[in-house]
Symmetry: C2
Subunit: 121 residues, 2 copies
Amino acid sequence: MPNHTPRPGSPVRGSKTGKPIMALFDLLGRSWALGIIWQLSQQPMTFRHLQESCESVSPSVLNRRIKELRESGLLERGDAGYQLSDTGQELFQLLAPLGNWSTHWAGLQVENTTEPTSNNT
Amino acid sequence: MPNHTPRPGSPVRGSKTGKPIMALFDLLGRSWALGIIWQLSQQPMTFRHLQESCESVSPSVLNRRIKELRESGLLERGDAGYQLSDTGQELFQLLAPLGNWSTHWAGLQVENTTEPTSNNT
DNA sequence: GAAATTGCTATCATTTGTGTAGCAATAGCG
DNA sequence: CGCTATTGCTACACAAATGATAGCAATTTC
């Protein structure tokens, strides 16, 4: 079982120090972790619904992420399915600005991507 | 070469929609991406210095992340080595609060880790 | 011109993620 | 009760990402 939930204070994937910020980055730096938090911020969801809203992420990964995020106290099960815990919502509040910024960033990308050659936008 | 830099508007690892936030999450959700941004926010660094400050991340991964982050316009090369671009610093401003929050979160984790059954001291 | 430093690439074992199938448990229905 | 549908999840087998290590070409320093 080489896969474990990153916890502040304990070494994590590549991080021997276990500094909180690194443990957090390790937790969030796994596929779909941020996406799951993002989706759940909108509403609680069942496993399958969450899976769909994350563009059909494979159930094995979804299950692992859920497990890790639960162990990290960021999400929990409620009546309507999985949902962000209070801590999870705190975190989401910090992440929320990324939504707008990402579209701003997308704008910059488009500028830099415009092909000087042949592509029709 | 199945590894490419996630760009808003183009499908990315698992994400077929290419929604900016998902492209961003894909970019940041790779090993050491967040850590690299975090480290560079303090000061520009050479490749090797950056590698050390990221707890000896392997050069292959570091090189890939740098490439991706450069293509994403988040970092660039300067006189003193690699550094965050203006865009990268914008992003860091949004991520910065995670530093304090992560220690707060670490506190919660410690609480939850203390054995619940042995309270009868 | 020898040594040290830097920015990488090459290689390969290990870990993670993907895609699909399917199963046990529960819920609704006649 | 039996039938069907949904849900939460596990089990693979295959693909992709990461980790660890070695080392090389191009500077810089002496």
